[in-house]
Amino acid sequence: MNLARPRRRSGTLGDALFWGAAFGAALLVLILLGAIAMSTLIGGYPTFARFGFGFLSKLVWDPVRREFGALVPIYGTLVTALIGLLLAVPVAFGIAVFLTEVAPRRLAVPTSAAIELLAGIPSIIYGMWGLFVFAPFMANTLDPWLSNTLGVVPGLAPLFSGPPLGLGMLTAGIILSIMIVPFIAAVMRDVFRLVPPPLRESAFALGATRWEVVWHVALPYTRTAVWGAIFLGLGRALGETMAVTFVLGNSHDFNISLLAPSTSIAATIANEFTEADSPDYLSALIALGFILFVITFLVLLLAKLMLLRLAKQGAR
């Protein structure tokens, strides 16, 4: 039966209306996406016209002289999201393995519930906790330790230099990782459970250890969904605003050290949008929004391409 065109018979009106409503909803999402892209592009166009591609590579952010450059916000966004992802993926993987392979049932159920609660905490609470509890911990304990140990290793020294403020890209990255662990862990856990028992049991029968079953059987089988979960986490980390703005330090100076303050696109817009007093300033902020839109779109495109390639290779 061709579901695209309902046949004429009694009760078809309801079908046609429902089909119309569903199609309309899907179309609305596409229209909204296009509208957001167009409106940020139009709003940011004066900035792109003034600076061209130089906007992406300039370090200056001077509202008085109306000179704007997006490099520091872009750098801060990418670095904090990357740190968040690098820390979150192994932890989420460990949690998923624990919940599916290792934990006895009476431990697995409350732990699962706790992970899901973590996902529900509003991001501004993370920001407040980060500022009042975590940043002092970083300033007093972790930052000095990193400066003293990794900050003297020749290649890594520039990455861990500077005064231990407790506020900076590393702190923001760690808080982002705590925020995205639940999403990645939940998807990994659900998908590891879907590995067919015969597959796992035959691996055990061949003498594989639990780790070998996870790494060589479960993970390849669920590759697609795991990559999807990772990109989901990355998407959240790129757009996170309030938690990052509390602990990143809101500084438009470029600094290679992870212990140094910086700013992200979302934090810059959140801080400066309401009082951007000149059209140039406003346009620069909207241009930043368009750049974030493009970055997120590229990340999702990359994810989609990678998943298509994996699907061709026959994974689940």
């Binding site: 200056v60 952010w61 001077d62 509202p63 008085v64 002289r65 000179e67 500022l131 940043a135 002092p136 300033a139 005064p163 403020l165 407790g166 506020l167 703005t245 330090g249 809101n250 500084s251 438009h252 100076d253 303050p261 700013t263 934090a267 801080n271 400066e272 309401t274 009082e275 951007a276 007093d277 300033y281």
Partner: protein
């Protein structure tokens, strides 16, 4: 069942209608975080007396200016005055509401409030990033005999645009030609160094958390958060304590007669007792408002605040306006704002 549902919907509409009538008694404003504490106190007292609510959003002076120009609020509050040309172009009236001060605050072990002394040019050099440590010779010269630690100075500025920033950098530009040339004056500037906190509250929070921090906040925040403030040398070479007396001394030297639309910035005021970073907060109202009733309600509130709210302002350490200035303001309302109140 159906009758019950109809009754429920009718009751909800009735309540909504009643609520919307109550909302009509609300005056909206937005702007400076500097005046937020006193506006909150005044609106609380005023609503107890008259039932009219003042809904004020402290989003920063730049935001307040943008919102009143866009007409989304009934009044805007800004620490940066608009000049008469800008007021004319946007058809706005402007008048001062309270006087306060911007105070540098520090986080140093063994330093009590009012012990550290800084001069204007030294503050500018620190904020320019030229003086980087607390035990630098320039700071030691101003504080002979005081042991300052070998700690990096972490400058804390505002991450959002702000009239507090405007008054602070206006002062720095007046005392440091290098600041004026390199950075300039505005509600938002390209800070050569430091981290940014959101609002006066954000700067206070960062200063309290980071050892060796130096920031600037409005005086009411210093008192409420019990921050360690530093003294600033004024143009007469004295180090006045930041309080109502020194703010009033700065305000007394202001020449309101020759300031059309009250356009006057009081930083670096002359006189031995004048506090050098004194700031006035201004209210912006439409001259020909679309919603005359709300503007009239706002003016009635401000008249009450200027005539009866002075002791409340003093308890929060704002400096009330001298009575002569209040009469001048009320005459300005009658001349400029075309609303019956």
């Amino acid at each position: 069942m159906k009758l019950g549902k109809v009754a429920l919907v009718a009751a909800a509409l009735f309540v909504a209608a009643g609520a919307s009538h109550a909302i009509a008694q609300q005056v909206t404003g937005a702007g400076s975080t500097f005046v937020y504490p006193i506006l909150a106190a005044w609106s609380d007292a005023y609503s107890k007396q008259t039932g009219i609510q003042i809904n004020y959003q402290s989003i920063g002076s730049g935001g307040g200016i943008a919102q009143i120009k866009a007409g989304t609020v009934d009044f805007g509050a800004s620490d940066m005055p608009l000049d008469p040309h800008q007021l004319e172009a946007a058809n706005l009236a402007q008048f001062p509401l309270v006087i306060g001060g911007v105070v540098p605050v520090v986080h140093l072990p063994d330093i009590s409030p009012g012990e550290l002394r800084l001069s204007g040019p030294l503050l500018a050099d620190i904020f320019l990033g030229k003086v980087k440590r607390w035990d630098a010779p320039e700071i030691a010269a101003m504080n002979p005999g005081r042991k300052l630690p070998h700690l990096d100075i972490t400058v804390v500025h505002r991450s959002d645009g702000s009239g507090t920033t405007f008054n602070f950098v206006d002062y720095l530009a007046k005392v440091s030609p290098e600041w004026k040339a390199k950075v300039g004056v505005g509600t938002s500037v390209a800070w050569p160094t430091g981290i940014g906190g959101k609002g006066n509250e954000g700067v206070a929070a960062y200063v309290q958390r980071v050892k060796g921090a130096l920031g600037y906040v409005e005086y009411a925040y210093v008192l409420q958060n019990k921050l360690t403030y530093a003294l600033v040398q004024n143009s007469a070479g004295e180090f006045p304590l930041p309080n109502a007396a020194s703010f009033q001394a700065a305000a007394a030297s202001a020449d309101w007669d020759h300031a059309p639309d009250f356009y006057l910035v009081m930083t670096n005021a002359p006189g031995p007792n004048a506090y050098p970073i004194t700031a006035t907060s201004f209210i912006l109202l439409h001259r020909d408002p679309k919603d005359a009733a709300h503007s009239a309600a706002a003016l009635a509130f401000f008249q009450w605040a200027l005539e009866h709210g002075q002791h409340l302002a003093e308890t929060l350490n704002y400096v009330p306006l001298p009575p002569a200035l209040v009469s001048r303001i009320e005459a300005y309302w009658r001349a400029t704002i075309h609303v019956k109140f």
